[in-house]
């Protein structure tokens, strides 16, 4: 494994941590947190895919030659908005489940 892909490995590790949280934790809120960890890890991966050694932010200025890849940034921006939507929906479901099943029972 080339050392350059270290960051990819970190992203994948985070992905697995999030996945474990979703699978093994009984609490609904922790499951939602797990999903957020997974989302963030995918963002980290996508952003690092778009990197370029020595590149600067993709804002066109005279005198700068190398820019990082803007497309993954766009993809991440959109995926983030989707993540916000999913989290909000999951939270509202969790809240409603707590409400209907009584505050004491926070597992499902």
């Amino acid at each position: 494994m080339s050392t350059g892909n270290f960051l990819y490995g970190v992203a994948m590790l985070l992905f697995l941590i999030g996945f474990y949280t979703v699978l093994a934790r009984p609490s609904l809120i922790k499951k939602i947190i797990g999903i957020n960890i997974m989302e963030t890890s995918v963002f980290l991966f996508l952003i690092s895919v778009g990197s370029r050694r020595g590149g600067s932010a993709p804002i066109i200025l005279s005198g700068v030659k190398d820019y990082v890849n803007p497309l993954p940034q766009v993809v991440v921006l959109m995926a983030m908005v989707i993540a916000v939507g999913t989290t909000a929906l999951a939270l509202s479901m969790a809240v409603k489940i707590f409400e209907s099943s009584g505050a004491g029972e926070r597992r499902g």
């Binding site: 350059g4 093994a24 370029r52 050694r53 766009v74 509202s92 809240v95």
Partner: protein, 238 residues
């Protein structure tokens, strides 16, 4: 038992991912296909073709404008979904027993809220030239309103930004994309072609259209996040 199953699944998944990571091209190499195949066009011609110095904004609003429109649909869907589950926010305010925090906190918020909003406006309108854009600005607007709500209470906020106003703002982005898109068809080109130079619209008009899209994205994403916050806050209050 459940944990054992989870660990089994994870190790399976981990093996696949490890195999993937080791065989990916080296990160950050200028020779990578990610840096050489499609992207050069955006970086070389983006400024000329769309008039946006910020390539991210150029891709977001022009090259992949369809994706951005659909993303606003995703936000709208999330809101509609949350409403369907938690029940509609009533259009009137209701009385609430709320303890105002100390004078110091209130003063700080009163002073900083306009500044935050001005900053949000700057981020939205200057997304073309520097980092920033509709979503980012919209989120700043939403955060500001949430800070205000936490200090002054939900009713104070609803008095200023009523659910009715928010409802119009929430659909504004999708509708303005639709409008701009249909304008493109009416002018004889493809959907959303109004943002490209091929149609021969003046630069000023194209900038105005992009600004309209950017501002409506900002307002819509802000309004959706505020509404989601209100929905969850209302439930918490019971």
């Amino acid at each position: 038992m459940k944990k054992l199953g989870a660990i089994f699944l994870l190790s399976l998944c981990g093996l696949f991912l490890l195999a993937a990571v080791t065989s990916l091209p080296r990160m950050g190499d200028p020779e990578n296909p990610t840096n050489s195949l499609v992207v050069p066009r955006y970086l070389e011609k983006g400024l000329r073709e769309t008039g946006c110095r910020n390539t991210v904004t150029a891709i977001l609003l022009s090259y992949r404008g369809y994706d951005t429109m659909m993303e606003m649909v995703v936000l709208f869907t999330a809101l509609a979904a949350a409403l369907a589950i938690l029940g509609r926010e009533s259009l009137e305010t209701c009385c609430e027993t709320f303890v105002l925090p100390s004078l110091l906190v209130r003063m700080v918020v009163v002073i900083f809220v306009p500044l935050f909003l001005a900053f949000a406006l700057y981020v939205i309108t200057h997304g073309f030239t520097t980092s920033g854009g509709g979503f980012q600005g919209g989120v700043i607007v939403a955060t500001t309103v949430i800070i205000y709500t936490l200090v002054f209470g939900l009713d104070e906020m609803v008095k200023r930004i009523s659910p009715g106003v928010r409802m119009v703002l929430e659909s504004s982005a999708i509708l303005s994309f639709m409008l701009v898109g249909l304008l493109g068809i009416a002018l004889g080109g493809n959907f959303l072609i109004t943002t490209t130079p091929t149609l021969g619209l003046s630069d000023f008009l194209r900038r105005a259209i992009l600004l309209l899209l950017e501002v409506s994205i900002g307002l819509a994403s802000g309004a959706v996040i505020i509404s989601l916050f209100c929905l969850l806050k209302k439930v918490e209050r019971g």
